[in-house]
């Protein structure tokens, strides 16, 4: 039997070290896959953009935002889910200028709605107010409403939107 001091580390320290290393290896073996597992849906690639028909240009009222709706087919998990969007289109008499506004509030993504009496868009979540061209009038929104690229083709309003 050797005295304890003959060794650089004791049996207890050695066993403790081995358990520590094995524990770290096992944690990494399980932990790294788990990170991939959890972030997996976030890594989904997004669809491209295309010209999407909204509706007939004849439905436009000059100077007033007119709501149109379109839907995206999104792949959510194992399902294709229809997501509906509303777009407010504002034009002048000649339909030369065409502004297509997203109804998603630029503050924290609630849906704004057009209040015809006041001539403003209103977001009910934190009382954000925008004018008919989407510029911020009051409230917390940091920037104007997002705009889609828009055109009229064969009497149809088209916007450049994500599929």
């Amino acid at each position: 039997m050797s005295k304890k001091s003959d060794y650089m580390i004791s049996r207890r320290q050695f066993v403790g070290g081995v358990i520590g290393v094995l524990g770290a290896v096992m944690t990494a073996l399980v932990g790294i896959p788990v990170i991939g597992y959890l972030i997996s849906p976030a890594a989904r690639k997004r669809g491209g953009f295309q010209w999407t028909p909204l509706g007939p240009a004849s439905a436009l009222q000059p100077g007033v935002p007119t709501p149109f709706s379109f839907s995206q087919l999104r792949e959510v998990g194992w399902k294709r889910t229809k997501i509906n969007h509303t777009v407010y289109v504002v034009s002048d008499e000649s339909q030369n200028s065409l502004v297509a506004l997203s109804d998603v509030c630029t503050h924290l993504s609630c849906k704004v709605r057009w209040i015809a009496d006041k001539g403003t868009f209103f977001c009910p979540c934190h009382s954000g107010v925008f004018d008919k061209d989407g510029n911020v009038v009051s409230g917390p929104p940091p920037r104007p409403l997002n705009r889609y690229e828009a055109k009229i083709e064969n009497g149809q309003i088209m916007i450049w939107a994500e599929v």
């Binding site: 399980v30 896959p33 788990v34 991939g36 597992y37 959890l38 972030i39 997996s40 849906p41 890594a43 998990g77 194992w78 399902k79």
Partner: protein, 219 residues
């Protein structure tokens, strides 16, 4: 620095007393059969961890249950691994818990003063089987559906109240979305709560009474 942090903690929480009681307790010279309890505990923790991660994608409805598992297996990164561990860990856990019971039985380790440890162990075995029974339905495939049809029909053979008990287990006359959601609730809430509470008592008793030595031939 590390020593200072440890000393600071020690002075306030006294963790070394717990460490000594749990890991530095005296044990007799024993054999590999004595590792089955720790193996069962490790598997229980593994099932809890993988089960928590599975519940992030699994949807307990007849429409989505099967599809959500297909999604976990084929589309989610390492989903096959997480579900594989849960699937095989479940089978392995039933085996280790059962062999652990056999070891205690054949060594006579259930005798005074360890009767309570044995009784709580019986509860843990039954809870483990309950996990197996409720978890089996969750994939909602043909095998799990008919296994549950058989299992719940066995309940109805109890004299007098059998039919009523079967309706309680199924959540109605038939195996339906109510059966699936109550099996899911029992599997992820009720049984884990019971399991880990009783494991706590079981471990306390083991630490308090110490473990029995391997019986000698002349005993």
């Amino acid at each position: 620095m590390a020593t200072r942090v440890l000393n600071w903690l020690e002075e306030r929480a006294g963790l070394s007393a717990i460490y000594k009681a749990v890991l530095d307790r005296k044990v007799p010279k024993v054999n590999w059969w004595y590792t089955l309890g720790s193996a069962s505990l490790f598997l229980a923790l593994m099932q809890a961890v993988t089960g928590i991660f599975l519940s992030m994608y699994y949807v307990p409805t007849p429409e989505e249950a099967y599809n959500s598992i297909q999604y976990i297996m084929n589309d989610v990164a390492f989903g096959w691994l997480i579900r594989g561990i849960h699937h095989w860990g479940a089978t392995l856990m039933v085996i280790t818990v059962f062999v652990h019971m056999l070891r205690v039985f054949f060594y006579g380790a259930y005798k005074y003063p360890r009767e309570l440890t044995w009784l709580t162990g019986v509860i843990l075995l039954l809870v483990t089987l309950g996990f197996g029974f409720t978890g089996y339905l969750l994939p909602w495939n043909q095998r799990s559906y008919w296994a549950t049809a058989v299992g719940t029909s066995i309940v109805s053979t109890v004299p007098l109240v059998g039919d009523f008990l079967m309706r309680v287990v199924r959540g109605g006359e038939d195996i339906s979305f109510l059966t699936l959601s109550r099996f899911f609730g029992v599997h992820i809430w009720v049984l884990p709560a019971v399991l880990f509470s009783v494991i706590g008592i079981h471990l306390y008793l083991i630490i308090r009474n110490g473990i029995s030595y391997v019986p000698r031939r002349d005993e």
